[in-house]
Amino acid sequence: MFISKGGRLVRRISLSVAAISCILLLAFSSIVVYQNQALSFSLYQMLPALQFSFFIDRLAAFFILIISIISLSVSIYSIGYIEHYSGDTKKNSLVSLMILFMLSMILVVASKTLFSFLFFWEIMALSSFILVMFEYEKKETRKAGIFYFIMTQLSTVFLLLAFIMIYNATGSFDIAKVSDASPFVFLFLFAGFGIKAGIIPFHKWLPYAHPASPSNISALMSGIMIKVAIYGLMRFVLFVLTPELSWGLLIFGAGVISAIFGVIYALKEHDIKRLLAYHSIENIGIILIGFGLYIIFSAYGLTQLALLGIIGALFHTMNHALFKSLLFLTAGSVVNATETKNIEEMGGLIKSMPYTALFFFIGAISISALPPFNGFVSEFMIFQAFLMSWSLASPMLEVLMIVGLTIFALTSALAAACFVKAFGITFLAAPRSEHAKHAKESSFSMLLGPAILAILCVVSGVFSYQIFSLLGYASLVPNLMIISIFLVAVYAFAFVSLRAFASNNTRIGETWGCGILSQNPRMEYTASGFSEPIVTVFKSVYKTKKTNHRTFFDKYQSIFREGAGEIQLFKFFEEYLYMPVARATDYISRRVSCFQRKDLDFYIACSFVTVLVLLLIMGWLA
């Protein structure tokens, strides 16, 4: 799976091989998921303590399933996508790194020992970092890369802390139950995985890294890499530690905050990939809400509700992987075709890129949690868990549930609004720029990849009831197949009957523009215009600052000469969380490096003082 030299053909072959191995993995993991039997094997032992051994149970197999599906479609997509880069070496390294990246994710999930988990986790981090930096010539990419790198290393730092504490508690590297772990272990794990998953307030790297990296990589990162972090969190919290109520509350709270802030920030974005990145934060939040609910309900012994929570979280993990990768891939096609990431410069693409538009549309419906697609099913389960929380014993918790529910509902409603904007401004109406006017539909492989995901989005939504029955969780979801049959039937009925009984004359005319003939794209509603009401409603969250300057012809200020207005978005987390840390570090570093600019005498004096001090200490201690 690792090829670095050669031309187009070699790349094709290697990607196809990757795709085929993904199919095999897919088959394998679905068998494991279906049969619910764990298997375990040891691959290679480096030192007695350092084993690369693997263990695949239902949870791991489920994540491997997700990874292999996404990898499959991204591999196929990449066959076409990478060709727009120049230089064989560059393309080849992209392919090989990408395959390494996918492989490392699978191996992280399959790891049985802390050591191999960390090992592959780091390989995953490294390969993804290089992939983010792939378009290194751009300044934003550099910034993004650094940011990503620091955050991902920070995550490793926390994980390492936790792992080391686990190791000290158990004395072995096995991922096995720890009887009495300190709460710090959980906190470190949570921080470590949280950073990687992009939980607010550790989210800032996501909106930088995703737009900067190539789209197939964004799809992988957003689709599955952050899910690997979710996997880690679930694996460690459930299988290594013993979850406590307070942890559940923490996870729940983080989930709620991530969800709402993710979507609110997404609404104001016009960079299509950054918008999707913020939605990843939102969806991670939703997954965490489900997971948090699971822990909370388990603590109160409400098995049925807990099941709803965890299955909802897991299913949403898969769904998010499906539709977010789908969206990133299609967004990548769009960005390729229009050479811009700004949706204000797109528009009208539904006519020039019909299939891409269709796939994006399916993704948009799924992510907006509209029935009968898959996004709905998982959010439905979480909603259901919320609504049925009346059986909780603690009134305070119930109140918390209500607050959570309110925010969660708002989140999913805002997500829909955001995707109306994303789809509407990008694909509908008339092209808003020259580039958009000349956009071309993507090549076959770039359609086939998303097509797989789009079909899966529909299938896993419509047939969710059947799927869950197969796995033994039948009672959790409504039978969407019936609903879909109804929908199709009524649609067909309405269509046929109107075709038969109503007038079938149609005419193509120009959009009505209050009498102005010949519309131009500048008269269309813009993305900023679209989100303006919501931004105004949530102005306290955005901390927007509106300023305007006007000049007038006369002193009574009635004849308007000219004016300018601007809206400044205040980046809360950047201002209050990231920048102070960065500034402090920078300050220290500048102070410390002052030391390096002194002359020899100074250094000798330093040694002199140090030696004297040592002398005094020794004399004193003796």
Binding site: E137, F149, I588, S593
Partner: protein, 488 residues
């Protein structure tokens, strides 16, 4: 026996270098010399019963630690001399090195190898001290062979800082000698005897002598606050030499600390020593990490990273457990090799751009893909990313640190993060720079000679293999060393 072969080989090599005229033959001789040392060390390791002693006063000896260090040094010198072939030629071509100074360069190079090797084989600590001082002399000579005024300043800094502190080491040795004279009747500085009788010696004076010895060794290995010479010297030295300086010359200092620590570990003073080492180790990591962050000179960055890693090793020694020492030793090897990759790649950049400053390096990935990837992979390796060797050693050192105190672990991790960030920032800044559209004077591509390519690629392969494959033999060897050092 072995030792005299070493001496003869070294002497012959020196003699031949003095006789021959062409660069090619001098380089070949150096390569053969280091290769011979490598073979000898390997032979000793495999077929000689260790430890074995030499001369009637047992001034020299070869034990597992010595041979291990000698092996590392030989490997480094080998790669450095292979690398030098093209590199030094390049230096001459652009006039940074006079052809007339070539002989001096190679003589000093080989003398450095000899003195480093012998310092590892010295049983007598005073002898060790002498060889350690000699390494300073030869390194300084190597630094000043280049035609740059700034190099003299760097060398002066090095000589002054290292040797003034080394004088304190000597005071420490005198303490030690007096102590043994009083306690055992006859004074000795032989390490094996000291180890044997450590328990009978007064911990207070031992502690004092350790602290004095430590001061010198700290200056030699660049521990904060004795480190100031290091970044300048590494940055000014030719890259091949920087690799050696970082990998084996400053390693002499760490070696000395290990030896001295082993003695102290047998006594009641071990706890205090540990504190001392951990404090200095931590200070080194901290200062180095923060200095790296605002660094704009590639080689200085790498040099500070050496300080950081040395700090980690000192900290590891301070932890004082067998496992920690085991991984310190492995870290030494891994760090030496990884640093060599970095310095060698940096050297290519220097040839290409004539500068190490971040803003000068442009279009690096196009012009010098090998060096760029060498830097990227080397940086990844040095900050402890798998699948490279340092990952494992760092992991275990941290594990050991956690056993002592979670706070320590946290602090170290945070500092390592800063260092990693510094690398990432620097590299991404460098590689993101393109020449721009207005470069009328298209930079001419520097053609990398095969020897340089070979060194870099081979080293990367080695650190990669060490990262995923831990030979049983190596682990036995390291365990032997730990046992010999009496760390329990």
């Amino acid at each position: 026996m072995i030792l005299s072969i070493y001496a003869i080989v070294g002497f012959v090599a020196l003699l031949l270098i003095l006789l021959c005229r062409s660069h090619r033959s001098m380089n070949a001789l150096s390569t053969v010399h280091s290769l011979a040392y490598f073979t000898l060390a390997l032979y000793t390791l495999l077929y000689v019963r260790l430890p074995s002693f030499y001369l009637q006063d047992r001034y020299f000896f070869i034990d597992h630690l010595g041979i291990y260090e000698a092996l590392i040094a030989a490997v480094l010198f080998f790669f450095a001399s292979v690398y030098s072939k093209g590199y030094v030629e390049g230096l001459i071509n652009i006039g940074e090195l006079d052809r007339g100074n070539l002989k001096l360069f190679y003589v000093a190079f080989n003398l450095l190898l000899i003195s480093v090797t012998y310092s590892f084989f010295s049983n007598n600590l005073a002898l060790f001290w002498i060889f350690a001082e000699l390494t300073t002399v030869f390194s300084a000579v190597l630094i000043v062979t280049l035609n740059a005024k700034k190099n003299i300043g760097a060398a002066l800094k090095y000589v002054f800082m290292a040797s003034t502190s080394m004088l304190f080491s000597f005071i420490g040795l005198i303490f030690l000698f007096t102590l043994t004279e009083h306690a055992l009747g006859a004074g000795t500085l032989n390490w094996d005897l000291l180890m044997l009788n450590a328990a009978q010696l007064s911990p207070t004076i031992l502690l004092a002598s350790f602290v004095f010895i430590f001061i010198g060794m700290a200056a030699k290995s660049g521990i904060v606050p004795f480190h100031a010479w290091l970044p300048t010297a590494y940055a000014k030295a030719p890259s091949a030499i920087s690799a050696i300086l970082s990998g084996s010359v400053s390693s002499v200092g760490v070696y000395g600390i290990i030896r001295a620590y082993a003695i102290l570990h047998q006594t009641a003073a071990a706890g205090r020593i540990s504190t001392l080492l951990i404090v200095f180790g931590l200070a080194s990591i901290a200062v180095a990490a923060f200095s790296m962050l605002s660094q704009i000179n590639l080689k200085k960055l790498i040099a500070f990273s050496s300080i950081e890693n040395t700090g980690l090793m000192i900290l590891g020694i301070g932890l004082g457990t067998p496992v920690a020492l085991f991984w310190v030793l492995f870290h030494k090897l891994a760090h030496a090799l990884t640093k060599a990759v970095l310095f060698f790649s940096g050297g290519i950049m220097h040839r290409q751009y004539g500068s190490m400053h971040a803003e000068e390096i442009k279009d690096a990935l196009e012009l010098q893909p090998l060096a760029s990837w060498g830097l990227i992979l080397g940086a990844a390796a040095i900050i402890g990313m798998p699948p490279f060797a340092i990952f494992v050693s760092k992991l275990f050192l941290l594990l050991q640190a956690a056993k002592l105190s979670p706070v320590l672990l946290f602090v170290v991790l945070a500092l390592l993060l800063v260092a990693a960030g510094a690398f990432a920032m620097f590299l991404s800044r460098v590689f993101a720079q393109d020449g721009g559209n207005n470069n009328n004077k298209k930079i001419e591509k520097y053609i990398v000679p095969d020897g340089m390519t070979f060194s870099i690629v081979a080293l990367i392969v080695i650190i990669f293999v060490l990262g995923i494959f831990f030979p049983q033999y190596l682990s036995d060897l390291l365990n032997n060393i730990v046992a010999e050092l009496g760390i329990k």
